[in-house]
Symmetry: C2
Subunit: 278 residues, 2 copies
Amino acid sequence: MKERAQRWFEELRDRICAAFEAIEEEGRGGPAGRFERKAWKRPPEDGSDAGGGEMSIMRGRVFEKVGVNVSTVYGRFAPEFARTVPGAQEDPRFWASGISVVAHMRNPFAPAAHMNTRHIVTARSWFGGGADLTPTAAPDAQDTAAFHGALKAACDRSDPEYYRKFKQWCDEYFYLPHRGEARGAGGIFFDWLESGDWEKDFAFAQAVGMAFLDIYPQIIRRRMDMPFGEADRLKQLERRGRYVEFNLLYDRGTQFGLKTGGNAEAILMSLPPEARWP
Amino acid sequence: MKERAQRWFEELRDRICAAFEAIEEEGRGGPAGRFERKAWKRPPEDGSDAGGGEMSIMRGRVFEKVGVNVSTVYGRFAPEFARTVPGAQEDPRFWASGISVVAHMRNPFAPAAHMNTRHIVTARSWFGGGADLTPTAAPDAQDTAAFHGALKAACDRSDPEYYRKFKQWCDEYFYLPHRGEARGAGGIFFDWLESGDWEKDFAFAQAVGMAFLDIYPQIIRRRMDMPFGEADRLKQLERRGRYVEFNLLYDRGTQFGLKTGGNAEAILMSLPPEARWP
């Protein structure tokens, strides 16, 4: 099951990178971008193999900066952290694999997006993840409806309650309390998904990835060539400032990763190429 | 004593703003900047007066963005926070006044700088603060020596041990562990300064502010008209990304302020006008 999950995350990475490179080919202005890959090893606590990952990053003419990370890491949680993880209280060994995508677009009318799915195994075993859309100029009702519609369809195939629950979780999670603002147009967020039917949960995680792969390129193709001006670009850079605030102040993965010796380059690939606090 | 401290912070604010506006007058390209002031009230827990502050911000031709905040706030600490504050364990009432300056310069060869001094009164009473210099192109030995020299002279007039201790504290505080990097060229950092001689401690806090007011304009005048190119600007914007990382991930004041309902606009005035994560 671990192997199947890991293979899936890597296959999804390949498909997303190919889909994004195809969009780059259709873009205008400057050369089309290509993903560059870079593998990293997780520093082991005791000299043993601790896993690692592979970053794929593309700086292009449609995608200003997009990172697609896969990683599969294993070992033992530090005692203070093990206490907070389901199934790790008595046995701190863990295995975790996942994919994480963050795309920042050149065109201010093309929304940024994030998608992540992961499988964690301790004495228990669960899936987590989500996807959300972040407009950087004006939010667009058609984009928002299309993005949520694709995620809802993926949710509904697994459980009629998932979309309502996971949409709300997303709204609560991607919120900047110091600004009184949502990060963007929402999406879904889920964690500790362990229904008792591993095949069903794995199929759901796959469906979330496939829904993102289907709908986000559609949204980008609709937006990538829209005319925009300097004021739109400045608005985009200011919205990206909020994105930075969320990721560094509140995102659990970022905070945990950076403070426990994770790969800083991979974790911070989510930060936008340029941002403003005017 | 509270009144004298508050009056000093406001007087220092006036002097710093005047000194920075004088530099703007000497600048080139575009109109000279002027500080804009904006007062804010701290939302009281119970409807009573809880103090507030005044932001001064200037966007100019030499100073790309500089904020000078003064605030004087009072009330009762939340119980979980009171436990962590000297003198507040039994009586959660507090009074706090201070000044905070963060300057981000247009010229990449003109270093950014931060200076802050504050006076806190609970059942105890102490001063805290510091100043540090952040080169954004190449660090310059002359700037670093001048900045440290001015702070050392201020320290030495109070106590021959202060500079060594407070420089080390600064090096430890302004450090990004996930990057393995210092934030900049250092300076001094001190807190909970309560020697038993209030006049001496107040004089030291004043001396730190005066040293900053003396030396930082000298450094800026030396650097503000240096020729620079696009590569220098990109380097500057990348270094500013590190500044954002430090302030949002590690700075105690930022984290505490934002998570406890502080004035987000005043707290985040420290963020650079533009930054990059290429």
